[in-house]
Amino acid sequence: MDANVLEGGGLTPQAAVAEIRRIEGLHGALARRASGLTWMIWGIVAPAIFISYALLSILVGFPGDGNGYHALWILFPVLWVPWAAIGFVATATLWRSVGLVIPRRSAQMREGVFTGAIIVGIIFAGFAAIAVSRVPVVEFAWVLMAQGVGVVIVGLLGLNCNDATERRLWILGGILLVAAALAGSLALGSEVLLARQWFTLISPLTSGLVLFGGGLYLTSRA
């Protein structure tokens, strides 16, 4: 053995590895718990968005129903914004608090914003395609599917993942959302009105269960 190792205070290379892993683990657990809490925040925000739209649709009907002009229709493209802002502020505050112990790198913050942009981008791209093609689509079914597709993409790109389990959870969670949207759409067929009623119930429940449940799992295993 090299003489340098002599100075290690009886520290074997194996013990050195264990020490490094312990220091890493100290923060890994905190980061995983914070990730889990982030999932839980969005597990409340996502159903809240669905419920807000459901309530608005009771008031004015969906834009695709041909109900004519209504002053509140302007709310449809922007109703999600206050909820998303609440989610964003809660997430940023959480990670800012975690940052007292684990300084977040700017790349990680960019990943969070990019994740939101992917999901919102897919949802709006889909609505644009629906508007152009005039295909009768249940709005909530599309949003649920778009959320799922977005979440799978984020998982595949490995964004916002502390470890392999979290990455698998992103992919699995996304697949569950897509599966729920597909299963509901196939089961209800062309009954748009009935499908709309079912998806008013299915969409917030599924997204809430997947995101909140996933977050609960992440925090419990950390």
């Binding site: 053995m1 090299d2 340098n4 190792v5 002599l6 100075e7 290690g8 205070g9 009886g10 520290l11 074997t12 290379p13 194996q14 013990a15 050195a16 590895v17 020490e19 490094i20 220091i23 890493e24 100290l26 923060h27 112990v101 684990i102 300084p103």
Partner: protein, 111 residues
């Protein structure tokens, strides 16, 4: 085959923990590092001075709402040294599995 050398500045239990902590976080308050690593003020101070002398970390004072706070920051040299240390450790452990030694724990000369 000769085993790779491990940087004697880093290869000491307390200093290794300090450098690993700073490598992960880049910067840390002195008091927070002390509490996180379960060290005394004197112990942390002694080892951080040694690391400062080697140019691996830098100590600074920042004004916070609670007054001046001593902060430790890893330097680019420290970052590179820790990466080299990790690499040497990997090589060491890989070689040791090929050429097992009776014991890798040797008496301490560092006090």
């Amino acid at each position: 085959m000769a085993l790779p050398s491990l940087d004697p500045i880093i290869h000491q239990a307390t200093r290794l923990r300090i450098v690993a902590l700073l490598f992960r976080n880049r910067t840390a308050a002195f008091t927070w590092a002390r509490d996180t690593l379960g060290l005394t003020d004197g112990n942390l101070d002694t080892h951080t001075k040694r690391l400062e002398e080697a140019g691996y970390i830098r100590r600074g004072r920042v004004l916070t709402t609670g007054g001046f706070q001593v902060r430790l920051r890893i330097t680019p040299e420290g970052d590179a040294a820790f990466r080299a240390y990790l690499e040497a450790l990997r090589e060491y452990l890989a070689l040791e599995t090929v050429e097992p030694t009776p014991s890798t724990s040797l008496p301490s000369t560092d006090r």
